[in-house]
Homo-oligomer: 490 residues x 2
């Protein structure tokens, strides 16, 4: 057991006193392994760090180069003018421990070791990793890794991962046994207008493990929901205790890939973590109050809804649509997700009357077929539905058929060269109108369709905070998780 794991108390008072705070919020960084060779992983990570606009000083250390990525480089960490808060290492395996020793001598107390070649490989790897822990213990270094991508804390403009950060700081915390699910999710999350609060890639967990990161995220004020990617747990008991304490305050969503024989095989060759039977992890998650998901897509879906929507007052979902089939599949998905479709109150039916054409249905799903005024679909119709006492949650089907809008504008006499911008303006207004209803809803609201996330309408809608899913099944499952979480929390 590494020294770090001996910490028994869970820190819940003030994030700034948390043992991981400085690692995730360093004032300055010494960087090993960056150069001017774009083929090197270290160079890519250094570029991503700099591209994010990290506000503290960054000191590259390089044996030969004088200038690295435009910064003055040093031949040894011992030569630095100050003692940086954090060391990031992307070095050949054999250089890691000697360099770490120098960092300790310099007084550096936090390290990210990206380099692999330790416990996850055979031969001398486990021995080297033991020596690494010994150096950390001796110097009191808080180390994340090896074989990891470190930390992304966009609120602090910190990114020690491979890819440049995209999007904005957000509310989703992550502790992951795969660095890919930090760095390779930047783009995915940015397209959905969600973002990480702070994300940790723990790698081999020589010192800091997923429990420690979970603990940190529990205290982190930016983090509204915590996501975990787990290939196997070592400290099962500490994990359950930490998670249980946090889950009462903020939801935790986890994917475990060691459950199937095939997943176990893949995971163990990746970080050397110990996997166990699927049912064992089901039990661990249940004890800990963790919501389990079956895919990375679902991990983000659930995090989006759990981290941003209010607690539902019941399990009744009202579906708003203008097409029967999309309404029916949503209704079916709602049922399968353990939710209900309440009837609308007499008052709501009355209030809807002016907006619903004779072809429409005011059963639930509310199928408008079309709106007399297309803007009504975005406001006030959803507002009326949200005011219904039986509506705990609202799920809306959004179809924004640009080709139809374009040809309508053309027939209305809009000049050809103005059609694109007018159509753009029209869908932007629609999405913004709905966004305002969403903001004031006080109830969970989600959207769904099968269209591209790149469409202007979808982009504005998501920018307004509305979770928008590529299938009603995903939307319903996420709402189901939201209901179960708040029921469990009580």
């Amino acid at each position: 057991m590494p020294w770090w794991c001996c910490r028994k108390e869970i820190n819940v008072t003030g994030i700034q006193t948390h043992p991981l705070y400085r690692l995730a919020n360093p004032g300055s960084i010494v960087f090993f392994g960056g150069s001017n060779n774009i083929g090197a992983m270290g160079t890519n990570i250094l570029m991503s760090l700099l591209a994010m606009g990290f506000e503290g000083q960054v000191f590259p250390v390089h044996p030969k180069e004088k200038i690295v990525q435009g910064l003055t480089a040093y031949t040894s960490v011992l030569d630095l003018p100050i003692t940086p808060d954090l060391a990031v290492m992307v070095l050949p395996t054999v250089l890691v421990n000697p360099t770490l020793e120098h960092c300790g001598q310099k007084g550096i107390r936090n390290a990210v070791v990206v380099s692999g070649g330790f416990k996850e490989v055979g031969g001398q790897g486990p021995v080297l990793e033991k020596q690494m822990v010994e150096i950390c213990r001796r110097h009191g270094i808080t180390l994340i890794g090896p074989n990891c991508l470190g930390v992304a804390n966009p609120h602090h403009k910190l990114n020690t991962t491979f890819l440049p950060f995209e999007g904005k700081p957000g509310f989703i915390g992550m502790a992951s046994q795969s660095g890919s699910f930090l760095t390779q999710m930047f783009n995915t999350m940015a397209r959905h207008h969600i973002g990480f609060s702070t994300a940790f890639s723990v790698g081999n967990s020589a010192c800091i493990d997923i429990v420690d990161c979970l603990d940190y995220l529990g205290s982190c004020p930016h983090t509204k929901v915590i996501t975990l990617y787990i290939e196997g747990l070592v400290r099962g008991r500490a994990f359950v205790e930490t998670a249980r304490a946090i889950a009462r305050q903020k939801p935790i969503v986890a994917i475990y890939v060691g459950g199937s024989a095939t997943g176990r095989k893949a995971g163990s060759s990746h970080t050397g973590a110990m996997a166990g039977p699927d049912r064992l992890y089901d039990g661990i998650f249940r004890q800990a109050g963790i919501i389990r998901v079956q895919s990375i897509t679902e991990l983000l879906d659930f995090a989006w809804v759990l981290g941003s929507l209010p607690a539902p007052r019941g399990r009744g979902v009202v579906i708003q649509t203008h097409s029967g089939g999309p309404g029916a599949v949503a209704a079916d998905a709602v049922g399968r997700a353990g939710l209900e479709l309440p009837d609308l109150s007499a008052k709501t039916l009355e209030a809807l009357k002016p907006f619903v054409p004779h072809t429409g249905s005011v059963a639930n799903p509310v199928d408008l077929t079309f709106s007399k005024n297309p803007l009504d679909f975005f406001d006030p119709i959803p507002k009326v539905l949200l005011e219904d006492e039986n509506t705990a949650m609202l799920m809306v089907y959004f179809l924004t058929p640009l080709p139809v809008i374009r040809r309508a504008l053309a027939m209305m006499g809009v000049a050809a060269d103005r059609i694109e911008s007018e159509a753009d303006q029209m869908v932007t207004q629609q999405a913004q109108a709905f966004g305002r209803v969403f903001e004031q809803a006080g109830k969970p609201v989600v959207g769904y369709n099968w269209r591209s996330t790149e469409e202007r309408f979808s982009q504005v809608l998501m920018e307004s905070g509305v979770p928008l899913f590529g299938d009603p099944q995903r939307a319903a499952r996420a709402l189901g998780a939201l209901v179960r979480y708040h029921q469990w929390r009580g």
Copy 2:
């Protein structure tokens, strides 16, 4: 029972003699309900029909307008210079039967009735629908609808649905009790470079029902896979018999939304179809050899793979990745989908050697971490994996991080204004290289990532025919369905 349903024999000889052939492949069309008022549904449908470039004559009938959408309009169908093959009606309910009677008198033998207000509503609706069937019987009219969107046959440039067609003719047949899943899927399918062969929206099924359409699609040479959207079946036995006969030749994938109480409620208010318990439909589908899916996304996922990939010779999936986590979740998904991860043969391991860096793993998942030459990932590495005798199927993780490519090009001295086009060219070459491997594979190959379908790399890859999924779970489930189908078919 409508007269149409009395047909007992299943037509499997020559599509041109099929009773639905002329309806799906008309030479000329009379259109009721189109005008120059863009607010009218009929106008929108007529515009979509014309926008597709339908090659036969189209005759709008309108009581007042002389020119409709640039075409000479007639005040009555009886005035037309010829007898068109097909009538499309988007008229107020009360006008439908009298107009249909005129069509019969004119000798028209095929009709699409888009108008609603029949069996799906109360009052006089069911009576009017009975009269409609009587008119059809008297004149020998093959009628689809009412309360439907008719037919999209892009191979014939026919589209009687609301939205303009997008993309290309394809291999996916559809018979649907919701018109939305024809017309609102055009965009979704076009983005994935898949398309309908012929798609039917059956609406209330007064004459033609889903069984008849299934039968047609079974004979249709363009159709390689059939998708069904079902809210409830009337002719259960005919459905099972027809489906079973077809399923041995081409796969049938179905979603049934009447199974949950909530779905049943939604479906019955939509087309008035009779729904039944979930288990009943499970039994029907099993007897019929139909593959059941749980979402519209999965309907298209399965159709894509079942309709375009060869039969796998076993259940062994090889996963190719350059990132551990995405490999591990894929491995887990493969296991959960009932598939296996075989070890690679000694011969393959030997052949891979020149391409795998020391950080990589040649277990399965084959985790390359990075390639010495980035193009190797697209060819020849997948080629080597496909040649392995244990590889029945190949699943590849595609990350195309444009920001990394851009900054690499910048560091290599490419001028700022050339970077976008060079990056574009690079990813295009990569996707095309993989596309060529795919074409010659002779084994099922799929890709996955969490990126936008709009990216150039993804677009070129899908254009080459490679099914690309937004999550490995979706990819694995689709491959699982492919294996089960071919095992069942034997």
